[in-house]
Amino acid sequence: MKRAPLIGGAVLLVLGTLAGVYYMLPGLSRSRAPSTAELARLVKERNLLRDEFGALLTQQQFLDFAQAPAGNVLVGVPNVISERLVSQVVTGLLSEVRLHLTNLHAHAEDDVQANVLFKQRTVGRFSLDVDIKDLRAVLKPGDPDLKFGQDRIGIQLPVHATEGRARGTVHFRWDGQGLAGAVCGDVDVSPDVSSRVRPATYMVKGDFLLSARGDTVVAEPDFPPILLDLRLDPGPDSWKVLEDTLGDVKDDKNGVCRMAIQKIDVQGIVKKIIDKGFKVKLPRALFRPIALPAAVEQSVEFQGKVVSLNARPIGLRVTPRVVWYGVEFGTEVQGVAAPR
């Protein structure tokens, strides 16, 4: 019975000695506690370095450290990133635009007069319809030119309409009147024709306005309507088809009739009406608002529970190099518990 305390004491003695050695030997344990004087020296060194660093920051006007607004959580998006994003989205969009127009229609009609029996008479009326059943073209953007000013990013870039083709019919109708009508009767032909879309370059110019929307900043597009004026350029084959069709009509008719129809410069009329072009307005929805890539969240999630941070947006601050936005927190975050 009396031996047990002795053994226990001996064990404690050994353990205590080992513990003492462990704590005293440098490298074996936590480092030696510094003296108060050593701490003071470290604080002095830290403060000196901090002052020097602060002076350097001021001297170099380091980024926007000084211009960042007050707020608990901020996001600063450099103009370089905003510009790169806007540029990439706009050029990407415009490189993907495919135009597919159907059932375009252009029309011309007129009376044809001829000298019949020593008198100018209306010998007939022609009606010419160009029906484009299908027109396809693609857009290719050129290099954008961007300008950042205040809260807007201006962008201007050329867009080339290329690789366009159209197919359709030229519907020619002749309604002979008087003598010509009696002799020629009516004519109604619709040869199929095709055409390439004349390559053209359009200048797209607009702005993206930066504004705070909820917890992020959005670049809102502000573009005037973009109107494309597509012109057709029928090749020799198409003109030949038209000419041959009308030639057949002419060959079928008598002299008076041939004279009347020959007075109609069908090719010229077709050229004239298709040269007015086909206007295509790019929808405003083509350019959508671009959210800048960082948003301040007003809540956080812990273990499946959403905790509101009671945050209030502080709006936008635009400096020459950075767009700042962020939030301020309210009084108390829900979910914070007092010690029990």
Partner: protein, 266 residues
Amino acid sequence: MHRARCFPRVSRRAALAVTAVGLLAMLGGCGEDLAAGRRRVEARVLARQIENLREMKTALSAKRLVSEQWLAIVADEAAVRSVIEAGLPQEMTVGRFRVLVHRAEVSFSSGSNRVRLNARVTDTRSPDRVADVVYQGGLDDIVVSGGKLTTRVLIDDIDVPQVQTGGDDASLLTMAADQLAGQNLERLQALIPPVAIPVKVEERIAVPGLGDGPVEVDPAEVPLNVKVARVIPLSGRLWVFLDVSVGAWRKTSALPSPSPSPVKKP
């Protein structure tokens, strides 16, 4: 039969003397005084600050501290404290002790971040024995994952500033709490929820398509590669700089949205 004795018979007084010496040796080895512990923690923090300041000063002089092209996320001490505290209180039982982490303090200064987590340790066998424990540490590396900026609090030391007991010896509970924390830092570490800075970073810009009209655009996206480039705790704020590289436009398979008819007759 008589059993042989392994040890000579000793007196009760001698046994008690050896036990007392052993206990003293134990306390002398393990029970480093609190002031020394605090000085050691303070020295470690100062050393970290000095090292960070030197590095930042050198980088700033060489104009490579921060690139003008980096996106900045700034969270002040109150914000980080709020998000840590939003996940509190957290409680766990370690042996006979109940640990309740209930409050956080955060400081960002001179290139160094510090997090202090206040906890209350209660002896479950004697609930009136309570010690307030402060876990000291800092934020780990910040990473961008799934559009979130996350980190965690790394505890590297503890402090036991206050003990309340029901008249018992305070130093024993202090030592117990100290040992409890020391031996269970990893378990206690897991008690602290990850810290999510309340900022959502997009990893792509989605561009919806247009269809059903004369102007067709396939849906696409611009991928963004975001990585943390530098973290600077400074003047009460944590500055997290992100290197955002804008990728090439690429098509996606989402359905396009309808567009209005824009065609005019000539």
